[in-house]
């Protein structure tokens, strides 16, 4: 549904590399996650795919249309929700939705089924101006506006950034029901925990794709054994663990530390070492890595 070949992009007369030889394929009907921090190049890629920016190098197709030559056809068949709220602040909810429906030559009624589940949540406020809405409501309105012409592909650029856990969960539930309608979704996020909700993901950093796979596949490719270190006093435990010569990397990770070892070093030896350093309650256990562990490992390579 989306094919990206050797896309490259720089800004500031070549001083800033935004994208570097990016190759990706997104299949029809999948939720594909682009996972990476600010400045990784996610938004640039979205803007190229939605025909708002011409790539310097490479080619890309959305729905078999070329992003440069067939930009008009692409604009008619995709929905785009930019990271920055871009609806008309001085139009009401209903006016915004009507506007976008009209621009795409359709009506709210025609595709109401598609947005119904989302729209009913903001409908009680349909006469309120978009500029006066809360973050969560703006997000839902923006999604409705991106969907109102029944696009084949939906581009969502960091839809959940700065949104609390409960609203994020609701948003992902909405995406799952849209997938059932056959819509292909490319979504970017800086939250690693959302990666597991995608069918496939690409980890991106500094304009390059580090890895593309299913979430399970990414986790499976973690090299070496990961260990969790539990104990009181995170800061001192962290320093003590990093001070152990067999430790290759160690990071705070939720309620534990996650550590990997250099060849030959073992968990029990670290546990004994930490206990000898006054961390009498320290416990070192092998664990399964998560997406974030994999990302950290790829970043450090």
């Amino acid at each position: 549904m989306i094919r990206i070949e050797h896309i490259g992009m720089t800004y500031d007369k070549g001083r800033v590399v935004a994208l570097q030889d990016v190759n990706l394929e997104v299949n029809k009907g999948e939720i594909f996650g682009l996972i990476g921090p600010d400045g990784a190049g996610k938004t640039t890629l979205f803007r190229i795919l939605t025909t708002l920016l011409l790539p310097e190098k490479g080619q890309a197709w959305v729905n078999n249309y070329d992003v440069v030559k067939d930009y008009k056809a692409i604009r008619n068949s995709v929905g785009y929700m930019p990271g920055k709220f871009s609806l008309y602040q001085d139009l009401t909810i209903e006016e915004n939705l009507n506007f976008f429906a009209t621009v795409f030559g359709t009506t709210i009624a025609e595709n109401y089924d598609l947005i119904k589940d989302i729209y009913v949540q903001i409908e009680p406020f349909k006469n309120r101006r978009a500029g006066k809405l809360s973050g969560g409501m703006k997000q839902k309105l923006a999604l409705c506006c991106a969907l109102i012409h029944k696009p084949d592909v939906l581009f969502l650029d960091e839809p959940t950034t700065g949104v609390d856990v409960v609203s994020r969960k609701e948003f992902w539930d909405m995406l799952k029901s849209l997938r059932k309608e056959g819509i292909t979704i490319l979504v970017s996020t800086p939250y690693m925990d959302e990666a597991t909700l995608c069918d496939r993901i690409a980890l991106i950093q500094k304009g390059s794709i580090l890895s593309v796979d299913t979430p399970e596949g990414i986790v499976h490719s973690f090299s070496g054994q990961l260990y969790a270190v539990h104990g009181q006093g995170t800061y001192h435990l962290l320093q003590a663990t990093r001070g152990y010569e067999g430790v290759a990397s160690c990071f705070a990770f939720g309620d534990a530390l996650h550590a990997t070892f250099k060849p030959g070093a073992q968990g029990p030896a670290l546990q004994a070492y930490l206990q000898s350093k006054g961390h009498s309650d320290a416990r070192v256990d092998p664990i399964k890595p998560g997406i974030e562990d994999c990302f950290i490992q790829l970043l450090n390579q």
């Binding site: 990476g36 921090p37 990784a40 969560g136 856990v165 800086p190 990770f253 450090n300």
Partner: protein, 248 residues
């Protein structure tokens, strides 16, 4: 843990007309503690934080920050705290050392103190070579670490961090937390809001606000035991799921 309290509130309340943004917040934060201040969007976190920073007068209730009263000594409070948020931290069109000088000056430090602190800070962050680089030209991760260091440049009692780590890569996020641990270890109290629930685990204690009230407050491990779940995300979900307010 040192039990000297640096933030004490008693039924701290803020109304905007009929709307009660913060309803009788009563809690205390101890010296050197990393205190997580969590809540759903619209729960009242920002309002509470603004009152504690001396930027907004409460409607009723009491609060002292670093020993000063939020009603009558707001200016004294501002001198004893640091503040950093993801949205606003440093000036992009000033260089690294100009930013340090600017914020040092704002916080009332003397020229000679600022000079000493600038070179110490640059070497700590290994930014000596970037002293004359505009902040807009340094990588986002460095910027964030610099912003944090700048927010505590004047040696405050408390630093307020409002979603400090949004959008940075996982390695930088952890390096940032290393700085937080280090500051707390030196006795700076850290008051932090975040949407990353793994970061909630790094706090000594967390409070979770729902619809203007503190729904619960305790050490992460105790909260998980209480709600019989295995992560802070689930604790948050259990408490905030039924929130009525969903504003920002």
């Amino acid at each position: 843990m040192n039990t000297e309290a640096v933030i004490v509130t008693d039924k701290l309340t803020k109304r905007f007309g009929p709307f009660i943004a913060c309803n009788e917040l009563t809690f205390q934060v101890d010296k050197g503690e990393i205190f997580g201040f969590l809540g759903a969007n619209g729960a009242g976190k920002t309002t509470a934080m603004r009152m504690l920073c001396g930027l907004l007068n409460p409607s009723s209730g009491k609060a002292t920050v670093a020993g000063f009263d939020v009603y009558t000594q707001a200016n004294r409070i501002k001198q004893r705290i640091g503040y950093m948020s993801q949205r606003f931290s440093l000036y992009d069109d000033l260089t690294v050392s100009e930013n340090i000088r600017f914020f040092g000056g704002i916080y009332g430090m003397s020229i000679s103190d600022i000079k000493k602190k600038t070179s110490a800070l640059l070497s700590e962050l290994q930014l000596e070579k970037e002293a004359k680089t505009l902040v807009r030209d340094i990588p986002p991760g460095w910027k964030q670490k610099l912003a944090f260091s700048v927010s505590i440049v004047h040696g405050p009692d408390i630093v307020f961090l409002d979603e400090p780590t949004g959008g940075v890569d996982p390695v930088t996020r952890r390096q940032f937390w290393d700085l937080i641990y280090e500051a707390a270890d030196k006795g700076v109290t850290v008051f932090v809001t975040t949407h990353y629930m793994d970061e909630a685990e790094y706090c000594n204690r967390v409070s979770i606000m729902v619809d203007g009230v503190i729904a619960d407050l305790d050490a992460p491990a105790r909260l998980k035991t209480k709600y019989q779940v295995s992560s802070m995300e689930e604790v948050f979900y259990a408490l905030a799921r039924n929130a009525v307010r969903k504003a920002d």
